[in-house]
């Protein structure tokens, strides 16, 4: 396999890891105001992701770094082109990170309410914007002959991409519900989560179907066999996850939800391949794994580094999840 193909796949894997892990973090943030009522309950909800959220976010940083290292032109065009959207994501992530860390440090109702609200917005906004961004990966964006994006923030916002944003919000919210069902040790929270998750799940299925059909009409999903297979897998897993959660089998539902997010990411990357950023102005102006990539030497170095380090990362992150596998109760609150 050529190294630029390998790196295309690897970046897909990093994004999948990010969506799977930060997905439930965002979901927990989005569900926070709905499933917890008292201050103690809010703390339980936040502490379910307590030891993990920061490590989960590193998947995004690594994906960004990997794009930079392996496909500098992709990094340059994407990050400068999606400038204001990324700026909003950054602000949201800044606020979100300090919100979870600082909210319980002061015993003042206004202080805590403010940070909780910011944590909610800081989780909702990136979920929405990542959905918009990924939808733009599918449709393509205006890129000129010099690989420069020639639109603005509003070029990125279309009915299809907005729908994609809503898909991401709902999928993450549902995914977060499943995580909470497994991690919360407070009965009241679990009951609310259960009730919400089934409703959100149902709406999610409808919106995802609409997004995929819309996408099949206006993007290249149907041109890739892998994308079609991935879409089918995603659909089956999402339906299974909703049904299983309804039956109270949150554990398997969570696994199904993980596979579904992985499959959606695979669908997006398979549809793009071999492009990394499709130009809507002229197919010849698209960024591809050939014209956007780094030199063979750099790719070789990066491959050695990634092949050595990624398994180690998975190992100790897995260890951390295993160590803190117990449900969070009102007795073990750190945040």
């Amino acid at each position: 396999m050529e190294l630029n193909v390998l790196w295309f796949i690897l970046i897909g894997v990093l994004f999948a890891g990010f969506f799977i892990l930060e997905g439930f973090d965002y979901g927990v943030g989005i569900m926070l105001p709905f499933v917890s009522k008292t201050d103690e309950e809010r703390r339980v909800v936040l502490n379910t992701i307590g030891p993990f959220w920061d490590g989960n976010e590193v998947w995004l940083l690594t994906a960004g770094g990997a794009i930079f290292a392996a496909f500098p032109n992709w990094y340059a065009t994407l990050f400068s082109g999606f400038y204001l959207a990324l700026f909003l994501i950054l602000l949201a992530l800044i606020v979100r990170g300090v919100a979870i860390d600082f909210r319980s440090k002061v015993e003042n109702a206004t202080w805590r309410k403010t940070w909780d609200a910011l944590f909610f917005v800081g989780s909702l906004l990136p979920a929405l914007l990542f959905g918009v961004a990924v939808s733009n990966f599918l449709t393509g964006v205006p890129i000129d002959a010099n690989m420069e994006f020639v639109g603005n923030l509003f070029t990125l916002i279309t009915p299809f991409t907005l729908l994609g944003g809503i898909v991401f919000v709902l999928v993450f919210a549902f995914h977060g519900c499943l995580f909470l069902s497994l991690k919360s040790g407070v009965k009241e929270i679990n009951e609310r989560v259960k009730a919400y998750s089934v409703k959100i799940g149902a709406v999610m299925l409808a919106v995802v179907v609409a997004w995929v059909i819309y996408g099949a009409l206006i993007t290249g999903i149907l041109h890739s066999v892998i994308a079609i297979i991935a879409t089918v897998i995603a659909a089956i897993c999402l339906i299974a996850a909703v049904v299983l959660q309804y039956k109270g089998k949150s554990g398997i539902a969570f696994v199904a939800s993980i596979i579904a997010i992985l499959a959606v990411t695979a669908m997006v990357f398979a549809t793009m391949f071999p492009n990394v950023l499709i130009s809507t102005l002229n197919p010849l102006w698209s960024l591809t794994i050939h014209n956007a990539c780094s030199s063979p030497y750099t790719l070789k170095i990066m491959t050695i580094v990634a092949v050595t380090l990624v398994p180690v990362v998975l190992l100790y992150q897995g260890w951390s999840f295993w160590m803190f596998r117990q449900r969070v109760t009102k007795n073990d609150l750190h945040y």
Partner: protein, 453 residues
């Protein structure tokens, strides 16, 4: 509005701000790791209290470092996309490696450390903080490797209109990096040392927990002194090296307009950048030659001559960085560094006494001393980055060529205002929380504090 100027302002703002938190994290993780190790080895609970107390402040600082760090990873592509295309083949690798190698370790093991006090054996728990400390230092290595390429490009070939990596080893052994990395790390130790010294002094002034804060002070004094001495020594060698590597930067740092042999050192100067001269200066004769060559003779090139050399080499252009900023930031850095050595020395000698430091004036000085490393760190980076202007990659690309083509001035203005607003609010929150947990909420007596733990 001028996109280049706005983009530079934003980069300066976000990077200096980020670097308020980085050195303290690097130094304090190491200090907390040592404190906890002492607890594990000596079974002395007061060391555990120290680890917990300083750990709490570390976490507040760490959170700020993490969230402002995300911006760093993204803004090269956002604001400097032409630069990113030009050097991505080289520059992206260390950033990706930094995330894979260091960020994952830091975030995961800090998470385990926070939540694992009751779940892990003490030695394993302490080991988690060691991993965080080492990962922070490793993280600095990779990002400084990237910065060193901007300062002193090595190991590349020009190919396909961009700089491509030719030798990874050359990047790892970039002479700029070999000077810069120890300078940053030892500066970080000093930062943490003065932080712990200062907060301890303020608490001792308030008569709080004499046992905890005297012990902390004794420990921090060593850290502060070792850090301040090393950072000065390494910095001196770095300066000597820079005279060869980036003569313009050093000439600007000394406001040396004309080549002199032997060269004098201007302690202060009134600089007229327009006419390229100093209207007033107080000079110690031969001193600059001594600083550069360890000998009272030797030619040091002046700005005008270097400008002529660079014009011959790179074509017409203005290769003179903002001299006033370079001159005074250099003096701020060195001045703060000198005060740090004096203060750390005083702290070390006096904390060895039976009752610790009793002198209120000295304790107050240490409280204020917290600011010194921050001044030195910021001034040092301002010199390093402003002194390389107009280059974004020294000798290869200017900032004007590196800026994003598809981002408008309005867009950068929006983000600049946004970042400035959020960062200002967060600065207030950060200081408030540090004051609360570092001073205000601290229990009066050691006995009461023991019960809290």
């Amino acid at each position: 509005m001028d996109v280049v100027l706005l983009s530079r302002l934003q980069f300066g703002l976000t990077t200096i701000y980020h670097f308020f938190f980085v050195p303290l994290t690097i130094g304090l993780t190491l200090m907390v790791a040592i404190m906890e190790t002492m607890y594990v080895r000596k079974k002395d609970a007061s060391y555990q209290r120290m680890a917990k107390f300083w750990g709490k402040l570390l976490l507040i600082n760490f959170a700020m470092g993490v969230v402002t760090g995300i911006v760093q990873e993204f803004q090269f592509g956002m604001n400097w996309s032409s630069y990113s295309r030009f050097v991505g083949d080289i520059f992206g690798a260390p950033l990706a490696i930094e995330a894979l190698f260091a960020f994952f370790l830091e975030s995961t093991f800090l998470g385990i450390w926070i939540f694992g006090w009751d779940k892990l054996k003490p030695a394993l728990h302490a080991a988690c903080m060691w991993i965080v400390a080492i990962a922070s230092s490793v993280s600095a290595f990779w990002i400084l490797l990237a910065n060193s390429f901007m300062q002193n490009p090595v190991g590349y070939v020009m190919n396909n209109g961009r700089a491509e990596m030719e030798s990874f080893l050359a990047l790892l052994t970039n002479e700029h990096l070999l000077h810069q990395y120890p300078h940053v790390i030892t500066g970080a130790w000093a930062t943490a040392g003065f932080f712990v010294l200062g907060i301890s002094a303020i608490n001792l002034l308030g008569g709080k927990q004499k046992d905890l804060f005297r012990k902390s002070m004794k420990f921090a004094a060593v850290f502060a002194l070792v850090g301040s001495l090393l950072v000065a020594m390494v910095g001196h060698a770095q300066g000597q090296h820079l005279v060869e590597e980036q003569p313009m930067k050093m000439a600007a740092a000394e406001a040396l307009w004309h080549t002199e042999d032997p060269a004098g050192f201007a302690v202060i100067a009134a600089i007229d950048e327009e006419n390229g001269e100093n209207t007033f200066e107080f000079v110690i004769p031969k001193m600059l030659s001594f600083m550069v060559y360890n000998s009272f003779e030797g030619e040091v090139k002046g700005i005008h001559d270097i400008q002529a050399d660079m014009t011959a080499k790179y074509g017409e252009g203005d290769y003179i960085p903002p001299v006033t900023v370079c001159f005074w930031s250099f003096r701020a850095m060195v001045g703060a560094g000198g005060l740090m050595i004096v203060l750390a020395l005083a702290a070390l000698v006096l904390t060895r006494k039976e009752n610790g430091i009793q002198n209120g004036l000295l304790l107050k000085a240490m409280g204020l001393g917290i600011a010194l490393p921050y001044i030195a760190n910021s001034a040092g980076w301002i010199l390093a980055e402003m002194g390389r202007q107009p280059w974004i990659v020294y000798g290869l690309q200017t900032v004007y060529e590196g800026v994003s083509a598809s981002v408008s001035g309005t867009e950068v203005l929006i983000s600049l205002i946004g970042f400035a607003a959020v960062y200002t609010v967060l600065a207030v929150v950060d200081v408030y929380l540090l004051a609360k947990f570092g001073v205000k909420d601290v229990a009066i007596s050691d006995e009461a504090a023991v019960k809290e733990v």
